[in-house]
Symmetry: C2
Subunit: 135 residues, 2 copies
């Protein structure tokens, strides 16, 4: 069912430092985007293009950021979730629910303007998984 790994989301308490790490040490300047504030998602993002997929560096934005609790537990930052592409999100959710998986809430429009849902990490070997419809 799952298709390509769309991105690996990495939470950080210091986006500038994380972006600089990739811009100047691990990656090259043209692999790393400028920061983009997404107040409706409670994060500011920087993308790192690895050629075959992306890293999405996430810093909390505002008072109720969805990554705030993760950073309280992991102050140094770390991998927050993995996002896989699916062709048809409604069909994927029906299939997952019938297999006993917990889909967290209803599909909503994600940071890339496409429908997304998250799956309960307890059903996914401790990994928070996002599914994003491909179009």
């Amino acid at each position: 069912m799952i298709g390509r790994l769309n991105h690996v989301a990495i939470a950080t308490g210091n986006l500038q430092q994380a972006a600089d790490l990739y811009k100047t040490v691990l990656a090259t300047n043209d692999q790393v985007s400028e920061p983009q504030a997404l107040p409706e998602h409670g994060v500011t993002t920087v993308f790192v293009n690895t050629g075959n997929t992306k890293l999405e560096l996430l810093e909390p934005l505002g008072d109720s950021s969805p990554i705030a609790a993760f950073l309280e537990r992991n102050p140094a930052g770390g991998v927050h979730h993995l996002c896989f592409e699916v062709e048809d999100l409604d069909s994927a959710c029906a299939q997952l629910t019938s297999a006993g998986m917990r889909v967290l809430g209803e599909p909503k429009i994600g940071a890339h303007g496409l429908p997304v849902v998250f799956l309960h990490p307890k059903d996914c070997g401790g990994v928070l998984i996002e599914l994003e419809q491909t179009k």
Copy 2:
């Protein structure tokens, strides 16, 4: 410097259960490999092919598995490391060391028969990063 994301390594205390999750729920049967014991690396692995990259499911093997401590801290499992490809590992290590990054030990031959090193997660925003030479 870093190239493609070669794989996302996911540690699990129950490889059969993790493989079944991907084989029967999240992925399709032909995306998921059979388990492969790698006693010299202290793990048994299953690969999940997402088309653009791989997930590497890891279960401890033997008494001194490198993922045992991670599973003690994260009994449900979780993302253990990200592996990026580099063209020339010695040159990458020299560049990283001169930028003040801690390379953990000397390059050694990894699970795919290619030279690898790990970088200190405290220098990488809380993420354990493996670099693998492409050939």
